[in-house]
Amino acid sequence: MAQASATKVGEHAPQLELPDTSGTIHTLPTPNEAPATVIVWTCNHCPYALAWHDRIVEVARDYEGRGVRFLAVNSNDAERYPHDSLGAMRDRVESEDWPFPYLHDESQEAARAWAAQVTPHLYVLDPGLRITYEGAPDSDHRDPERNAEWLREALDAVLAGSEPVRPATDPVGCSIKWK
C-alpha cells in the first residue's frame, strides 16, 4: 500500500487527451464543460481499486442525471503488469458495463502531469476545471457502507457552487506501476 499527500487542490487541472478502450479520444478541457468532473486513476489488478470500484460506479450512476462527467484512467505499465493491458481494460469495460470511459495512459504522461500516485486516486473538478477535491473515495476500502461518502460530499459541494468541507484526503491504494 502507498499513501501520497494531496498537493494540488485549488490549482487548475492539467490538460488530458487520452483514448478509451474503443479508441475514442477524450479531452479535458472539452466543449460544454460539465458542472463537475471526476477523474479517477485506477487499474485492473489493485485490490484497493477493485474494492472501491463498485462504490465509484454507483456514484457515477447516481450523479449521471446532474451532468457530472466521470473519466477513469489506467496508467500502469502493461508490459510488466499484463493485467493492465489495453485488451484487459477493454474486456473489463465490456463485461462489467462501465458507465464511464476507461482511458489508457500508455505513456504515463497524464499520471505524471496530474501527480497521480496510487490507485484509486480521485480528483473532483469544478466547472472551471479547478481541482476542488483530491484523495480517496471514502475512509475505508473494506467497508462498502462508507458509500464513497468523501467523493459524494465533494460533488454535492461543487454542484451547489461551494467548496468541499474536506478538500483533500490521503489517497490510499497500490502505487502506480511506473515504467
Partner: protein, 88 residues
Amino acid sequence: MLREEMSAVGLDPEEIEVREVSTGADAEREEFIGSPTIRVDGRDVQPVPDEPIGLACRVYRLPDGRISPLPDPAEVRQTLAEAMNGGD
C-alpha cells in the same frame, strides 16, 4: 498480520522469509501471482490455481466475498496450524 498470527500459534515471527519478486523472470521462477503472497512451508494461504503468473498486486477474497489486499487472518492462522500439524 502474519507476524501476529504466527505469534498467536506459538511460532517465531523472526522465521519469516521475505522474498522480493521484481521481474517477470522472478515471477515465473517463484510461480508468483501477486504481492503479497504468503506461503507456509510452500503452501499458499489462499490457493488460486487458475490465477496467471506475473507481477501484480494480489487480490484476496474474504469469507464474506469482499476484496482485500490481505488474506483473512483466520485463514492464515488455519494454514499455520495445519502446517504445524503435519500439513493436513
